[in-house]
């Protein structure tokens, strides 16, 4: 390792990330002339490539606020949250939290929820593969299933929202410009998962999210059902369980 080399990199990286900073004096352009315009190419590459990457992952979020607004918002995110790994598949994991706290976006209150749903979709797409538990295997567990902890598919995650996030997302992703009609008044909770090769976004019935949240945290089925009932008196255990099994969200029990 070389101190000179690290200093040179430090000066380059700092100027790269700060558009107001002077271009490092160690650099030159054509025939020893100013490197300002050329250095701007590198500056542009860093930000534009990361903004493009976020835009590619969040197509509905982009459509909801328009390309220009999204890119300005994403630039602020990138400035605050530079990647820490060359594996950019995980980059932007907290982008929805940033949107939540981004004042200019507050006029679109469901924007962060849509971004959260799209990021969950992206994570599910790249998550580890696993074979879902079959109905037969589940039935074969018998009564002792009540004492077991159910394990979820590695791709499974919940997105809970006080807004009808799935309906908004579905409508936004459709190519037509039809008005959405009457949006559901209540919020929607989504279970996002990829049991095989296709990512699925499932709308959960009342209490479903509380039930799954408790199961994911390691509660037994009766305890998770109790937690769901506490939040939602109309929670229906058998319907929720059947839905979970059908979706391929469970991979085992221990």
């Amino acid at each position: 390792m070389s101190a000179d080399g690290l200093q040179r990199e430090e000066a380059f990286a700092q100027a790269l990330l700060d558009a107001r900073a002077a271009v490092p004096t160690a650099l030159a352009g054509r025939d020893g002339r100013s490197a300002d315009r050329r250095f701007a190419v590198y500056r542009n590459n860093v930000y534009v490539s990361l903004i493009n990457l976020l835009a590619g992952r969040l197509p509905a979020t982009v459509k909801l606020v328009g390309e220009e607004f999204f890119r300005a918002m994403a630039r602020e995110y990138v400035e605050q949250t530079l990647p820490r790994s060359a594996v950019l598949l995980q980059y932007g994991g907290d982008f929805a939290d940033f949107v939540d706290a981004f004042p200019p976006a507050s006029s679109v209150p469901y924007l962060a929820a849509v971004a959260r749903l799209e990021m969950a979709w992206h994570r599910a797409y790249h998550a580890a593969d696993a074979e879902p538990l079959t109905q037969e295997a589940f039935v074969a567990l018998g009564p002792r299933v009540e004492e077991l902890v159910l394990s979820f598919h590695p791709s499974a995650s919940l997105v809970r929202s006080p807004y009808p996030v799935i309906t908004i997302w579905e409508h936004t992703m459709r190519d037509d410009d039809d008005e959405p009609g009457q949006l559901p008044a209540d919020g929607e909770d989504a279970l996002v998962l990829r049991p095989a090769l296709e990512v699925a976004v499932r709308r959960l019935p009342p209490g479903g999210a509380a039930f799954i949240e408790a199961l994911m945290a390691g509660a037994t089925m009766p305890a998770a059902a109790a937690a769901a009932l506490e939040q939602t008196p109309e929670f229906d255990l058998s319907a929720n369980l059947a839905g979970l099994m059908r979706s391929g969200a469970l991979v085992g029990a221990h």
């Binding site: 080399g5 380059f12 352009g29 050329r38 190419v41 590198y42 820490r84 594996v87 790249h126 593969d129």
Partner: protein, 298 residues
């Protein structure tokens, strides 16, 4: 298509023909159409997810075609130590997919644990030469295979540079035993940006160590004074003068595995395939032009 959990692949060397950069947009075209193409190259970092369609499709494609592994994030030209976690991930990918070639860039892209997502330039000095060689030694001994080092496209120069790029690359090869990936578009871009002759650069390039060629598109921009500034954007067809330069290179090297790189504004499969076939026609002409010597021998 079945989920890919494990697979073993036979030995599949890269043929001396064209290949293309593998894009998710083309997975189905490739598997359904079984195109007549020699090989595919993958960007390593795009396959460092745990599972899902990228691995399932890559496994299916690898069963049918040879693969070359091209890293973009190792920061071989960086002043700090290599990221050993990243190197281990690369090794894992190479073990899993058995690529016939592995390449990385003469550039840096990480600093102080921040990944800058671009291939940044370094000066060519005794100090950087020693460090690049150390890094390549570490890569080759960890990966247990030879790597190819790619010549960069750059927009700025370091006046502290004491060595020509071609001499730097030749010395890296001599010290580490690595091979070279010659990106002909990068030569063209640099020649325009730094005002030197691309043909002269190639005459001095250690062509005997080139194991693969890259051909990509570039964009035209302007410098402060209005003069031409070329940007290596991989977002369009290979430019005609780059094809000419490639043809001249082939005349010196003979047939080489040649990759069409098109990473941004990815075109339809048929457009990309047509670019690859254009490279194949030039490779075939090279083979023909050397045929008379063999004819005499028989």
């Amino acid at each position: 298509m079945a989920m890919a959990l494990s697979a073993t692949f036979g030995k599949s060397p890269i043929p001396q023909t064209s290949g293309v950069g593998l894009k998710p947009e083309h997975y189905r075209d490739i598997l359904d159409g079984a195109p007549d193409i020699g090989w595919f190259e993958i960007h390593a970092e795009n396959y460092m997810g745990a599972g899902g369609p990228p691995h399932a499709y890559l496994t299916a494609i690898r069963e049918r075609y040879p693969i070359s592994l091209h890293g973009v994030g190792l920061s071989i030209g960086g002043a700090g130590p290599l990221d050993t976690d990243h190197l281990a991930r690369l090794k894992g990918l190479a073990d899993r997919y058995q690529p016939a070639l592995f390449s990385e860039h003469l550039a840096w892209s990480s600093h102080d644990e921040v990944y800058l997502n671009d291939l940044l330039p370094l000066p060519y000095t005794d100090e950087t030469l020693a460090r690049v060689c150390e890094h390549i030694d570490e890569v080759q001994s960890t990966m247990k295979r030879q790597m190819l080092l790619e010549n960069p496209s750059t927009y700025v120069v370091y006046p502290e540079t004491t060595m020509r790029e071609v001499d730097f690359l030749r010395e890296v090869v001599r010290r580490t035993g690595c091979g070279l990936l010659l990106d002909v578009n990068n030569v063209f871009v640099q020649a325009a940006n730094h005002v030197f002759g691309a043909t002269e650069y190639l005459e001095d390039f250690p062509l005997e160590h080139v194991g693969e060629v890259h051909l990509g598109g570039h964009a035209e921009d302007a410098d402060e004074d209005g003069s031409l500034l070329l940007i290596d954007d991989h977002g369009r067809e290979v430019a005609d003068p780059v094809w000419t330069l490639y043809e001249r290179t082939l005349a010196h090297t003979g047939a080489l595995p040649t990759l069409i790189e098109w990473d941004n504004d990815v075109p339809s499969w048929s457009v990309l395939f047509a670019e690859a076939k254009r490279a194949d026609r030039l490779i075939a002409l090279t083979a023909k032009s050397t045929a008379p010597e063999f004819a005499v021998a028989t």
